[in-house]
Symmetry: C2
Subunit: 646 residues, 2 copies
């Protein structure tokens, strides 16, 4: 088969490719992640690349995503391009999935450990050296000692550990450390490794959060309970689809499942490499891995078919998971290291949420708590120490920049903070990474809509009010749009605008979440006013402007001191499970005790949803402060207008 040389600009990255290979995959091999929100199906038009020289086979000409002029200029959809010769491409900034922010932005979660009692731990054993009259074999001697001193009856033993045994015993005069693993609530013990008493004794665990967008890993010292270094990276599967559904679809095609698995395994191995640079030698001492991820991520990581997740009756292959081995999944860790996967509640309320609830501690407090993880698949948990209900809601991709004309992930170039000045009819904004703007991230979208709404530029139905900003609002074939950043000032070749369709999408998304809270509360006869606490977990919460999120009706209107952001609660939950078998068992209890609601099948949800399609909400009594603020601002504008006019 012919092999060609494909170059990518900027950066001049070269990679070899076979004829017929998909361009997104070729780029991914060079660690260049091209946006492909729709999973490379040619539906989203986000993967535009520019053919600078050479040739490529493209199955789509100009059309909905590419004007004839753009096509003539060399623009192509990468997902529709197959290698057919040497070629050089330019990847425009807005087609690029940039990982740099994700590697530093997430907050370090606070770990509070009641009691350090990890499932992998060291036993110290002092044995009698053999003699002519006592020539029991090493392994048998060890078993005898474990039985006598620790009442263990022939625990399973890893081959690795057995191979270490003769030397470890003799190096320390038959005095050694034995690393024992026992899943809390599981069946039986396993000896992972042995070390001479003279060997350095530090035992680590690795906590991993596999998010649909980012993957995080943290080193955990099992002796001190301290967290070591942690690193994050963009989930490499992103080239094959931004949301879980596109990935499940991709997994069902050819070797798609293998590709997705390989990507996330590479991700984690890369993070382990980074961690090892900071703690040299730690890799060989990692005696436990705990992974938290949503149900789909857990399936894709383990190579278990996720197909049934998206087919009625939405039954995953596994909610609970057996103890696996890190090495058999492809992680470059000792062959004996066990790997635990957080149990899910259902197909769409995954282990990441169970981990988050554990981290939030809501399961042990009397306060009525709402726990939310905002994202394409938003998850909601309501309850307290006595009961918990949960639901997933398909908010759609608006919070992550999808379905929005100039939407993008919260990466450099994303418009984030936004302020409208009614006095001048102009606005200011901040851009992540302080570059020229390339688009609008989810939190930026919320900020823009909230500001424009309070300023009267958007009405409660989400329609632009032309006379409120006549210079910035214009009409396009699709309807009205609001000019955010002209081509002359941004990093693109066209104006960045907010369309009414974008606003509609956001209203649908926030309404899906809000009506979810209402449905869960109603199921136990309660309402928003009964909430004592709102805990926000997940990556999205960090950049969320609380006031603006309430203004658009994404969050319930409650006093600010009732809200807490707990960072990457999935990683924190994984960390806690590393540190304590009791907490791991607690996680299993949590997921078993949570009542899962399928919102689409829950009576009342659709009514709530319809009522939520309004800024902030049809039912004004739920947002009295917001409405008061709206009134105040309107009054101020009117006074100003009067003043100007008078």
């Amino acid at each position: 088969m012919n092999k060609y040389k494909i170059s990518f600009q900027p950066g001049n990255v070269e990679v070899e490719a076979y004829a017929g290979e998909n361009l997104i995959e070729v780029a991914a091999r060079a660690s260049l992640h091209i946006n492909a929100s729709c999973g490379g199906q040619g539906l989203c038009g986000r993967c535009r690349v520019e053919l600078k020289s050479g040739k490529v086979q493209s199955d789509s000409g100009p059309g909905v995503f590419l004007s004839p002029a753009e096509y003539a200029r060399g623009l192509r959809l990468a997902c529709r391009c197959l290698v057919s010769g040497d070629a050089t491409f330019n990847i425009p900034p807005d087609s690029r999935a940039d990982a740099s922010l994700y590697a530093s932005a997430l907050a370090e979660a606070e770990v509070s450990v009641a009691q350090l009692a990890p499932m992998a731990s060291d036993l110290e054993l002092e044995m009698t050296p053999p003699s002519a009259s006592d020539n029991l074999a090493d392994y048998d001697r060890l078993l005898e000692k474990l039985a006598a001193a620790h009442q263990m009856k022939k625990p399973a033993m890893e081959l690795e550990a057995l191979r270490q045994l003769p030397e470890a015993l003799r190096n320390g005069d038959f005095w050694l450390w034995v690393t024992v693993f026992e899943e809390a609530g599981g069946s039986g013990q396993r000896l992972l490794g042995v070390r001479s008493i003279k060997a350095p004794r530090i035992l680590y665990a690795l906590a991993v959060d596999i998010g649909t967008t980012t993957v995080w890993a943290r080193l955990v010292n099992l002796d001190s309970g301290d967290s070591g270094s942690s690193h994050g990276d963009l989930n490499g599967q992103i080239s094959f689809g931004e949301d879980v559904i596109s990935r499940i679809v991709f997994a069902g095609k050819g070797d798609g499942a293998q590709k997705l698995k390989d990507r996330v395994v590479e991700n984690i191995n890369h993070l382990i490499d980074l961690i090892e640079k900071e703690d040299p030698g730690c890799r060989e001492q990692i005696a436990l891995v705990v992974v938290a991820g949503n149900t789909t991520m857990s399936h894709l990581f383990t190579g278990v078919n996720p197909r049934s997740i998206r087919l009625a009756p939405y039954v995953p292959a596994a909610a609970d998971w057996p103890v696996l081995r890190a090495a058999e999944l492809g992680l470059r860790l000792p062959g004996s290291t066990p790997l635990l996967i957080y149990p899910s509640v259902s197909s769409y309320v995954g282990g990441d949420i169970v981990a988050g609830v554990l981290a939030s501690e809501m399961y042990k407090n009397p306060e009525l708590t709402l726990f939310i993880d905002v994202g394409t698949n938003g998850e909601i948990v309501v309850g307290n120490q006595d009961w918990m209900t949960c639901a997933a809601c398909s908010a759609g991709p608006a919070f992550e920049g999808g379905g929005v004309k100039f939407g993008m992930r919260a990466a450099p170039g994303a418009i984030d903070q936004f302020y409208f000045d009614p006095a001048t009819g102009t606005h200011r904004f901040t851009v992540i990474g302080k570059t020229r703007p390339l688009g609008i991230c989810g939190s930026g979208l919320i900020n823009i809509v909230a500001e424009l709404f309070l300023a009267g530029v958007l009405d409660p139905q989400g329609k632009l009010v032309k006379e409120a900003a006549p210079d910035l609002i214009r009409t396009d074939e699709d309807g009205q749009e609001y000019l955010i950043s002209p081509a002359s000032a941004n990093g693109l070749d066209r104006d960045i605008v907010l369309t009414e369709i974008d606003v509609d999408n956001l209203i649908r998304a926030k309404g899906a979440m809000y009506s979810g809270y209402q449905t869960l509360l109603e199921s136990v006869g309660l309402g928003m006013g009964d909430l004592d606490k709102v805990i926000i977990g997940g990556g999205f919460g960090k950049s969320l402007n609380l006031k603006n999120a309430i203004t658009i009706g994404l969050l319930p209107e409650l006093p600010p001191d009732k809200f807490t952001y707990i960072g990457n609660s999935s990683l924190t939950g994984a960390t806690l499970a590393c540190l304590s078998g009791e907490l791991w068992q607690k996680a299993d209890e949590i997921r078993r005790n949570m009542t899962n609601f399928e919102l689409s099948e829950t009576p009342g949800y659709m009514d709530y949803y319809m009522a939520s399609q309004f800024l902030p909400h049809t039912q004004g009594s739920l947002f009295p402060e917001t409405l008061a603020e709206l009134a105040r601002q309107r009054k101020k504008r009117e006074e100003q207008a009067d003043g100007d006019g008078g």
Copy 2:
């Protein structure tokens, strides 16, 4: 590094080699096994090869093993040759370790199974398909069913099995087979695999015997209890030493342990290939492997350091073994297949003997039984249903053709049966494979010595009696020797002879065994006359001439009907453990209940040994029939001589 082409004759086998590679290893890579009794240390002179063309670097010139003339003719010791250029070698027949006989000679052991109850078995589970109101995940559904129907509490589950689950469930309408493994006496169950109820249901096990010389594997049908095909092969480690001690020494050098491990793993994989040819598809259905081997073989196969076996106090790394995985050891079998290794009694009484005792059924009969496995390391068990004692004795390599000037293994070309005719003063013999003779195998040596002894050609001290065969006995620098086959009639270039040193070695070897029996019997206050049964296991027994073995004093003099040969008892024992968890547990009981004697440290053994250094024995009362036969033959010769003279 330079790469050269090495050719071997006969057969014209070509193989690539790097400069500096050892010639024995190069040959082994081409599956040509060159004799190297001493483990390639240049001590035995058995690995003579002939350099036909090209060049090689040899670190020894002519000397004790090669005359100057031989050296000039191109003869070299392969173990002392390092590749230094292209070269062609001839491997003479007596330097070749031929595997052909081993692949067909061993008797199929009879397997008698009391009760078919294997440790790997299938459960049939009929489950309710999921629905909107019952959307438990597949794995959780399975766990729930196992708990309800079989009282199993979260058994361990192999990743392999989990991956098969979604499809297996849906292919059979949630009705499936689950393969469950549980080590009898072990800790906990493990789910190995799942199959739709519509899938063909046959479950197999693989019984493996790893002998120092040969490796055998047998397919076992766990549903019917029937044995399938079995195959044997020369243990590929033989190029690195013939006996366990040379291999332990080799394992301690560089990557020696890895090489030894790889060889035997290749052996078993090759045998599985042969078995699969006869039962296509069986490989994927093998749900259990049981391996029996001596203590050293078990260590070398698992890659566990065997070093301590040969150092006082002779403590192996493992006598008992944890459950391992066939795939982690390198066997090409399903990733989930568990592998059990027969437990040993001590460093020199291994799992093969425990398996043999199980196969012999002596542990459940009241008769006082002597079980022996004759070989370089002879093993002896004495006892019955109430008690058992055992010992290993270093008989030396005479029984396997080692330490004997023209000794060889029982392969084609080996002189086997031997008959001396006093009337003519001549002898006849048979050769394995009906070829020209190349040497004398262990059983042949026993036959020769027994015949010559009864004919008065050897005296009770093992010295040749010149006048009894004046034409065949001659004197060499090393002492007297008896001409067995002249160069003109054999396949070598020199006479095949029996030397007095050879006879000495055999007397030492048989004496070591016999005094072992005596010591064990004496330890419980019994003697030879109390034996009800003698059971002979192992490969050597098959070709053993019972009468001759008694004549030289290797076996006790008892009526023939007290002797039984049970073939490859180690393989039989492994087969039994495949078929029954109860028998596997019995094996563990057997090894725990056996009292092991270190003969060299047992008072009385040396006295017995000294007394045994005689044909048949110093204590004539132990061999009354043999002495009577000796007297009869002497009388016959005297009468004949008188007749001739008269």
